[in-house]
């Protein structure tokens, strides 16, 4: 096995990993950074984020308002020290991106423009048309090309963390083009591998989002936090799950049921606002969890429109005008026409809620530290408890930047701390990881297929742990996923080539997804309350007495995870009522 020695290994080259890499290269050009990713950086799913990134810059806005929106939006499951740090750093990071060339949309005077977003009381979302994530990703990627100390390992699939003496000292990765296995010996490691939306059948997430880093950390003994909180975005295209940004509603788009009625007013988000004059934190500018839940109720009442791809409601933007749509929402128009055959300029677009974001992830704190020395995590794979029980749109892109930098600062400090790599022990562990990969590769017989197990997992999660959940449906999901994890032993690779063997990578991804799916279902079963995106039909109220707590799921081998709880950090905002009824006033 080949060995690569580096100072900081970053796994994942999306927005968070790239931001971290730049932070290290700028502050400590003497440190070697290995940026390892299973895809080329520009393929990372940050590119699909559309709406924008939140940061306070306008004179009518304040850090306190951003704090309150985020904490309330997260149904008080956010760690408030984290939120406080985040809102203070947000605008700095977005300005930094501007200095690196990000093509933010502008006001006529040349200053950066902001747009309204769901759950935000003031317009504070920086945007680059409706391709904000794409531009952020490419700006960061291209900026990394300046720094010789960043060495990229594109298309290396990371399988294991190397943990010796309770400290993370590297990773094992497969070079995808050759099948060769490498050990990266590092003084510290940052995991930035993104979310796991692919555990659900209908998702905005790209194929790469299989939660590899989270699962890897989980198996290495680090708890996953709040995994039961999965966000449904209210406006996805029905056939494919392609996202239509919240910016559609920020710019004035409205939701209608089959009768043309703006049904959100019936679910505590009224009164109805005038067409083309969106009011912040009201109606269509309510938070994503509430909007997706309202859809579910409309569906129960029979007010949705049946389509070949499931029940839908309409997103109506016809009153916005062609010029405005082309300037602010060009991608939305392109996607609607291409994939649904509907031009939003003239027609209402059928949409339905779609799995979008995992609030849960690797347990981290305000320093982006995991409980394991030398290991940091950032972005959707992590749960630093910024987003609580429901993430507000446009907070996650900023989160990548703020905590990407934070993780980098701590990782480079740790790397410079004089810890010696225990090379023989690390190598021994890497050999074991290699052995496991080879066994999977060579194994024959079994009769299970990767695509078959994957489909059963997805269907089971959607059925049991969707927008609304009950004890019974969750128990079924838990049982199914537990079975699927056992049945995984019965898969066999048909592809025996060492070169770009996607059969192997899909098998590894499936294992990761099954582990994470189990934490989602088990966490949801154990949380006997409704909060944010986690809604139980059998426990309809929020229960601050018993569940103002984070769920921590610990890996227990073949068994179901051990669930523990951790108090939420509350500094200044006591749990209250989430008010989206004309709350803009």
């Amino acid at each position: 096995m080949e060995t690569i020695k580096t100072d900081v290994a970053i796994v994942g080259a999306g927005g968070a990993g790239l931001r971290a890499a730049i932070a290290i290269a700028e502050a400590r050009p003497d440190l070697k950074v290995a940026l390892i990713s299973k895809v080329y950086p520009m393929r990372s799913h940050t590119c699909a984020a559309e709406g924008g990134a939140a940061g306070v810059i306008k004179p009518d806005d304040s850090l306190e308002l951003h704090f309150n929106d985020t904490v309330g939006g997260g149904d008080w499951l956010c760690d408030q020290d984290v939120v406080d740090y985040f809102v203070r750093e947000a605008a700095k990071e977005l300005t930094q991106l501007e200095h690196w060339g990000c093509p933010w949309s502008r006001e006529p005077d040349g200053s950066v423009g902001v747009r309204p977003f769901g759950g935000m009381k003031i317009k504070r979302t920086w945007f680059a048309a409706d391709k904000s994530g794409f531009h952020i990703l490419h700006t960061l990627f291209q900026t990394t090309l300046k720094y010789p100390s960043i060495e990229r390992f594109d298309e290396y699939f990371t399988t294991d963390l190397l943990v010796v003496d309770g400290r993370c000292q590297g990773v094992v990765a497969i070079e995808m083009s050759s099948g060769r296995i490498f050990q990266f010996q590092a003084k510290s490691v940052i995991v930035a591998t993104g979310g796991a939306g692919r555990i659900f059948p209908f998702t905005t997430n790209g194929a790469v989002k299989t939660g590899d880093g989270s699962a890897m950390a989980y198996r290495a003994g680090i708890p996953l936090k709040d995994m039961e909180f999965v966000q449904y975005h209210p406006t996805g295209l029905p056939s494919t799950g392609i996202l239509l940004t919240e910016g559609c509603r920020g710019e004035g788009g409205v939701l209608r049921n089959k009768d043309g009625y703006r049904y959100l007013q019936d679910y505590g988000m009224g009164p109805e606002t005038p067409l083309g004059k969106p009011v912040l934190k009201t109606m269509e500018l309510g938070p994503r969890d509430r909007l997706s839940q309202a859809f579910w109720h409309e569906q129960q009442k029979g007010n949705t429109i049946p389509t070949k791809f499931g029940d839908c409601v309409y997103l109506d933007m016809t009153h916005l005008g062609e010029k405005h749509i082309d300037e602010r929402l060009p991608l939305v128009r392109d996607l609607s026409i291409s994939y649904s055959g509907v031009d939003p300029v003239t027609e209402q677009v059928p949409i339905r809620p779609v799995v979008h974001y995992c609030m849960g992830g690797i347990h981290t704190n305000i320093e982006a530290e995991t409980p394991m020395p030398g290991l940091y995590a950032v972005g959707e794979c992590a749960c630093g408890s910024l987003n609580g029980a429901n993430r507000l749109g446009s907070n996650s892109l900023t989160e990548l930047l703020v905590f990407g930098k934070k993780a980098a600062q701590n990782a480079m400090e740790f790397a410079g701390g004089g810890n010696k790599t225990n090379e023989s022990a690390v190598s021994e562990q890497a050999e074991q990881a290699q052995k496991r990969i080879t066994e999977l590769f060579d194994k024959s017989g079994g009769g299970e297929t990767i695509s078959g197990l994957r489909k059963e997992m997805m269907d089971s999660l959607e059925k049991g742990a969707g927008i609304y959940r009950t004890e019974q449906t969750l128990k079924e999901s838990c049982a199914t996923i537990s079975q699927l994890r056992k049945r995984y032993a019965g898969i066999e690779l048909h592809d025996k080539s060492n070169v770009y063997n996607t059969d192997l990578f899909q098998a590894l991804e499936l294992r990761n997804m099954l582990d994470l799916a189990q934490t989602v279902a088990e966490g949801a079963l154990a949380r006997k309350e409704s909060r944010g995106s986690h809604q139980r039909l059998d426990f309809v109220d929020r229960d601050d007495e018993n569940f103002l707590k984070h769920t921590l799921a610990y890996h227990q081998g073949e068994e179901t995870p051990r669930i523990e709880y951790l108090d939420v950090i509350i500094t200044k905002s006591q749990p209250g009522v989430r008010d989206y009824s004309g709350g803009g006033k």
């Binding site: 050759s178 060769r180 080539s497 060492n498 070169v499």
Partner: protein, 130 residues
Amino acid sequence: MSRRPYVRRISTTTWYLKKKRDLVHMIQELTSLFVGIYGILLLWGVKALSEGPEAYGAFLEALTGPLSLAFHWVAFPLVLYHAISWFNVTHKAMPIQRGEEFLPGKYIVGAHYVVWIGFSLVVLFVAGVF
């Protein structure tokens, strides 16, 4: 260990026959030869002019020969095609931004035609056609 990227070789002499787009491009490229020949012709004429009326007369005489006429029957349409195909893409090379928006390409292409026709009229006028 096992990588062996496969390089698909292409023929350096016949590659453009496979795809219409490439063929059209090559024709466009080849028409530039005739533009070049016209350039040489023009230089020849200038040289003849500098050598006095007799030389220039011989030059004009040569132009009316059957070989020369045949050449022009072939060359002129090709040069015309070359010019037009270039005019039609000039807006890509020379975009004009007015305020936020770019001037639609048709104006830039159109301006080229206007200038071309204008020049041609002047030349014809000087040549005594009108």
